[in-house]
Amino acid sequence: MEHEGRSRSRWGGIVVLMVLVLLVVAGRYLLGRTIGDGGETMIRFGIPTGTVIDLRISAILSGFIAGSALGLSGLAFQVLLRNPLASPWVLGVSSGAGFGILLASWLAGLGGVWAVIGAWALWGAGLPAAAAGAIAAILVVGGVARRLGGFDPVGLVLCGVIVGAVFGAATMLVQHLVPNGVRGDIVAWMMGRIPELSPAWMLWGGAVMVVGIGLLGVLKSPQLDAACLTEDEARSVGVPIDALRRSLFVTGGLLAAVAVCMVGPIAFVGLLSPHAARLVVGPRHRLLVPASLLAGGGVLVFADAVRQLVDLGGGRLPVGVVTAMVGGPIFLALLLRGRAGS
């Protein structure tokens, strides 16, 4: 009886999350910026018309898909590490993906055979380059962790932090090597951006991947639940824990690469979303997977909506700044509320 009631409340939680996401999406759809009669920049709240409709829908879709990818990626790494505060950043995966794209861009500018390699790696909005960077990070982290005695969560986190720092330094090296005028573009890209016009193939590709992986996650939710137990407990219920961890490693890395391709290396969403979802729907992955997907998308669309409102004289804020400045307090509030509730 008590179990049934809890289950109902968990489903209620996901409904609440869906309503919140719908409200955020509606808010972003109605919120934009325009020019006033005196030539000044104004916030416009209302139903858009003409080309603006496309711009807002594209921004919403890009933000939602990339945010969902980050949410699922964060969840994959949190299951992998059995740590609700893990994220693609902690394992150096986002840094690896970001470095991959920057390296490809630099090679593309060198000319000759390097330019051909760079151009190939930048195909599909840089997915090959980002995926290569993410996989490189995963291979290094996984390889070192294995030598330290398997997929030990603490070892993985330590390796991830170091790999992230190394990729960060490599990114700075690329910044150092590019001509002076290009450094600003790199800095801009590192801040994250939500494109208001994205190619349809990218939106469809991202959506198919995120929804597909989300469904796979729901189907495999019993294994994911078991992966959160101790290693011995997981093995005792028949979960091949090493194979599952490999899958989570690759899936998390790929999703982070997709997000980096779409919106740049945005931090915090992958950390905040699964944790927030867990507070709303509980630890069972049957609901936690779709909830993380929704929360990730909702958080990034919300951040995009907030930045429409904030102009400190230099235009809209970069979305990466908003995710950190808005997400941080929300994360703390959720954490405190969760503690108080329990």
Partner: protein
């Protein structure tokens, strides 16, 4: 408590499904529906301009076309009352739609034009111009574009072109004073002879000791070992005294003449380069440097006429 029953092997099946999804991403064709909303065709000679480059904005203002400019970046000078359209983060697409410019001028990065800008061009029908601005040659190309788009008076464009061509054509004798041009003093940032500041140095009759190689960072040791006859620091008025103190504090092996130039136009390659050159020459004179003065007088003459 989590699931306790026996569970199936997830590893290979899961990865196989994942590979399918990745392939799906790659195979989906580019099928964007870029429906046009009716491009705005600006009247000949009256096109409004959004400038996404501070250097291009300065050039347009210098050409007397301030009124044409309807949008800017946060770093553009002289048109503070116009809305910000482009930032580091990219283009604010809705603002661009609201402005409906006839022309957008920009400086694309090495990775190419922002796809959002290209998409908006298809939808809004504005003309897209501009290009990389590394020096005089690029500025001349920009002026050709501005003339082709009828964005400024041809006689003004001609004037500026003459001045710039005079700067670009300057050659330096071997005995010219050896100079180091600093674009940053705190960390020693040196402008090579293939930069627009290098071109200005050459036009001022100076031999650039940094050689080619663009914008580089030197150590103070390298600065000392260059044994320059003259060190020129380009900085802002606010940083002038700091730059002077910093350079004065160095124990030079061979004391160079020091000139600090605070013209804000020195920080972007625009048609105001001749103005910077004039200030550079004044600075050299005050520092007691006699340069070759590789100029037939046309550069400053044009500046004065333009003023």
């Amino acid at each position: 408590m989590a699931h306790r029953g026996p569970v199936s092997t997830p590893g290979r099946g899961f990865l196989r499904s994942l590979v399918t999804l990745v392939v799906a991403w790659g195979l989906l064709p580019g099928c964007g529906d870029h429906t046009s909303v009716g491009p705005r065709v600006a009247e000949e000679g009256s096109a409004t301009v959004v400038s996404l480059s501070p250097a291009i904005t300065t050039t347009m203002v210098d050409l007397g076309e301030t009124d044409r400019l309807v949008g800017r970046t946060p770093w553009c000078r002289g048109i503070d009352d116009r809305p910000v359209v482009g930032t580091l983060e990219g283009v604010d697409a809705e603002i661009l739609v609201a402005l409906q410019p006839g022309v957008v001028l920009h400086q694309p990065p090495a990775s190419g034009t922002d796809p959002v800008l290209v998409g908006l061009q298809e939808r809004l029908g504005f003309r897209l111009g501009g290009g990389r601005l590394d020096g005089v040659r690029d500025l001349l190309v920009l002026l050709d574009q501005i003339e082709g788009m009828e964005l400024a008076a041809p006689d003004r464009i001609r004037q500026r072109r003459l001045s710039l061509e005079a700067i670009g054509a300057c050659e330096i004798p071997d005995e010219a004073p050896g100079a180091v041009l600093l674009y940053s003093v705190d960390s020693v940032g040196v402008a090579g002879e293939d930069t627009y500041l290098g071109e200005l140095g050459r036009a001022a009759g100076l031999r650039n000791l940094a050689g080619p190689g663009g914008w580089r960072e030197w150590s103070i040791e390298m600065l000392l070992s260059a044994e320059a006859d003259v060190v020129i620091a380009f900085t802002t008025p606010e940083m002038e005294s700091f730059a002077q103190e910093r350079l004065a504090a160095i124990e030079w092996l061979k004391s160079p003449a020091i000139a600090v130039i605070t013209n804000p136009n020195a920080f972007e390659p625009s048609t105001r380069m001749p103005e910077v050159l004039a200030e550079l020459r004044r600075g050299l004179e005050e520092a007691g440097v006699t340069s070759a003065g590789a100029d037939d007088g046309s550069i400053e003459g044009e500046v004065e006429r333009g003023a």
